[in-house]
């Protein structure tokens, strides 16, 4: 069964620092990759997604992610965080197989706290 691993459960950093959140998945075939964010008290919303093409994808609010197929990774980055980036971040994978058809696998989430 496919799995998704997020390396850090909690990250604390100061405003203007750079952020990188790791995400690795276990499936070797074709995958669709997503990063979702959940701000305090709000519902999950899409930050960015990768289906095919350029492995460097840009999302909303200055976030980007790079798909490295050889490393089974889809790491999320932001060069300079703001206090408003405090949130929980989830990586999700949808593998294009009959077993996984229609299903997303989510990572455990990374809680990011940005201090002023």
């Amino acid at each position: 069964a496919q799995s998704v691993s997020q390396h850090n459960h909690h990250v604390i950093l100061s405003e203007a620092a750079s952020l990188e959140l790791g995400c690795n998945y276990s499936y070797g075939g074709t995958v669709n990759l997503f990063w979702y964010v959940q701000y305090p008290g709000q519902h999950l919303q899409l930050l960015l997604k990768y289906f095919s093409g350029d492995p460097l994808v840009k999302g909303i609010k200055g976030f980007e992610a790079e798909f490295i197929k050889s490393k089974f990774s889809f790491n999320l980055r932001k060069p300079s965080v703001q206090w408003s980036d405090t949130a929980e971040y989830f990586c999700a994978v949808n593998a294009e197989t009959t077993d996984s058809w229609g299903k997303f696998q989510f990572g455990a989430g990374t809680q990011v706290v940005v201090t002023p």
Binding site: F34, F104, A108
Partner: protein
């Protein structure tokens, strides 16, 4: 804008009660999902449906059932609630993309269920 609504934000039930969680989406999406979100475990798929009256088990279906009588509505049923079903329940919907891939999932605000 896609809108996914859930019938309750907070719910308190007693052990053994039958619990209904309702989800409605207004974008004519084919696919609908129920997840539970627990700290440190991320989102885990309970059931999903890719068409009216169709349902597929997710990763943790035990103790739950679902109903999809209309395209826009997907209900999660706890036949006999237990304390270990205390959790945040999230509904999501998505459509099929032009390439046949599943598109982005859109989430509702969640229902926080407490079973006493």
């Amino acid at each position: 804008d896609v809108k996914v609504t859930q019938s309750s934000r907070y719910l308190v039930k007693r052990t053994g009660e039958k619990v209904f969680l309702e989800c409605v989406q207004d974008m004519d999406h084919e696919n609908m999902f129920w997840y539970r979100q627990d700290p440190g475990l991320g989102l885990r798929l309970i059931y999903f449906s890719y068409d009216v009256k169709m349902k597929e088990k997710g990763d943790i279906p035990e103790g739950y059932s679902v109903s999809r009588e209309k395209k826009e509505r997907f209900s999660l049923i706890l036949e006999s609630a237990s304390t270990n079903q205390t959790s945040m329940y999230l509904c999501a919907s998505s459509s099929w993309g032009l390439a046949g891939d599943q598109e982005t999932q859109y989430f509702g605000p969640g229902t926080r269920l407490l079973v006493l």
